[in-house]
């Protein structure tokens, strides 16, 4: 490998440096992930000492499990909405904050604040806001005369998933905003000045200068948002436990309930394997680009 760098040390020394982290990584991430793959081919209940290998049964049974179908659909809706809305809102905020605005650092701080809170705390806050009797959201609707719109947001099928997504959007807008703000600073002001001289309006400047200039940022923002979306667990678990009924069940929560409540560890891990394979497959281009860039 010709890198133009002088690398020092013998190979053995390098491995000594790499070993502790690689050991932890393989022991507690790679190995468990592989074991899950194995468990997914068994009928293990999670408790007994023995189990049978059942091949692909757990996987072929999934299409007959209405909850898995619902969870997969919910995951998909969740991914689309909690990627698109925060990215678009985050971009709008970044563009606005990049203009002539006072108090930029404070505004940036406020919009990003929800993102640093524990997901359980975010779930608690929104559960509290959505409370049918004491919640601020229904109180607000009643205060402005829209009593008819007040409802048990998390307690009924028709609104529960949407209500959890609002919480997710709240906490996720800050991240694209930060990345876009950083990226906007890389776009030359001269381009805008030249465009202004040529008589281009604000929208034209946005479409022809800002958007192309942000292309690398779009890629990173969307890739990371998609990866994050597929992992959804904490927020749903802490807000609704997948309910009411199965209205907000996602693959992660359904996996959890199968393993820890219904004693179906084999089936549960199969569900986890499916979502992991999808998540990894979707993110491989991103991981490749990162590796290439860094290793090159």
């Amino acid at each position: 490998m010709i890198t133009g760098r002088t690398r020092h040390g013998s190979g053995l020394v390098a491995w000594a440096f790499a070993a502790p982290a690689l050991l932890a990584y393989f022991l507690f991430l790679v190995y468990p992930a592989m074991s899950s793959l194995w468990f997914s081919f068994t009928d293990w209940d999670g408790l007994s000492a023995t189990y049978n290998v059942v091949g692909l049964d757990n996987y072929t049974n999934m299409p007959n499990d209405p909850v898995v179908i619902q969870a997969a659909i919910n995951n998909l809706i969740w991914a689309v909405v909690t990627v698109v809305v925060p990215v678009v809102l985050g971009l709008a905020l970044a563009v606005a904050l990049n203009g002539k605005v006072r108090g930029k650092p404070i505004l940036r701080l406020l919009f990003y604040t929800p993102a640093v809170l524990p997901l359980v705390a975010v779930a608690s806050i929104w559960g509290w806001l959505y409370n049918p009797q004491y919640g601020a959201i229904n109180a607000f609707l009643r205060a402005i005369g829209l009593d008819s719109l007040a409802q048990p947001w998390l307690g009924q099928d028709s609104t529960a998933l949407g209500a959890t997504m609002v919480a997710a959007i709240w906490l996720r807008v800050g991240f694209p905003m930060l990345l876009y703000l950083a990226a906007l600073q890389g776009i030359s002001q001269e381009l805008y000045e030249a465009a202004t001289v040529d008589g281009a309006g604000r929208w034209q400047q946005f479409w022809h200068i800002t958007m192309p200039g942000l292309r690398p940022a779009h890629y990173v923002v969307i890739a990371l948002s998609v990866i994050d979306s597929f992992k959804v667990f904490d927020l749903i678990y802490a807000m609704t436990y997948g309910g009411p009924g199965t209205a907000t069940q996602v693959m992660g929560t359904w996996m959890y309930f199968n393993v820890f409540q219904y004693n179906q560890a084999g089936y549960g891990t199969a569900i986890a394997v499916v979502i992991t394979v999808v998540a990894v497959a979707v993110s491989i281009p991103y991981v490749r680009s990162q590796t290439k860039e860094h290793a090159a």
Binding site: H8, D228, D234
Partner: protein
Amino acid sequence: MTSVAPTAALPEATIAPAGRPPRPQGGAGTTVLMALAALVWISPLVLLVITALRPLSDFVANGPLSWPGSFTFGNFADAWNIGNFANTYRNSTILLVLKVPLGVFISAMLAYALAKLRIRFGAAIMYTVFLGLTIPIYITIVPVFVMARSAGLTDSLIGLIGPYLAFGIPFEVLVLQSFIRQIPDEIIEAARIDGAGAWRIFLTIVLPLSAPALVTVLILDAVATWNEFLFALILLSSDANKTIPVGLLNFQGQFSNNSTGLAAGILIAVVPILIAYTFLQRWIVGGLTAGAAKG
């Protein structure tokens, strides 16, 4: 770890606080609009603070949106005791102190090996480690639970350290190795000619020069560790061993009819992270946006 921060792995890790030449200020209209939007965005937290500071009777009588007739700190005392926060604070702090420096240190070692040492399969190692960013924690919970049980480490904070380390490593290595890569080889070469070995170079040159990146990953890892939920939920069972997120979940269930107590409890759980974020945001923002502009 928990979602947002650790997956924020970005191309280049030139950790520089955002800054640029001063521009003419103005734009009162946009400023007012953005301030209003920010206020709406932060209103759940504002409401939380106001509610936590008022007596329950006042809240019940006047509703969640009214301005309190009187203020009290009593809710915090109640919430602190009922929510078992003395224990959960202690446990989360112990985990933070044990896990975060260790995780960052071994990640820095791997990052140094990948960036500056002769290591075979470097690209393959990187690919494997970065792939960890995309793996949902829940695919590992069954085997991790089984491993912890056979090692006698269920319901123990120590049992959490291994999984926490593993899920922190991908992001930490991604940021650190791209930062270490930018350290000029001449410095390292000079030290080597003076007879310094790899270990000495790592401790006396690489680590000190990586301080900005180290601070960033330390902070982000601390936030992620403090907020982690799923492993703590499955591995910890007794109240004495629970961490803040798991404790908060139980607390939430008990307090569904006591809005002011619930608000106080949520605040108790998030205040350290809010304070840390306010003071350390420069590094958090720097770490998350590192190099995004360059792509």
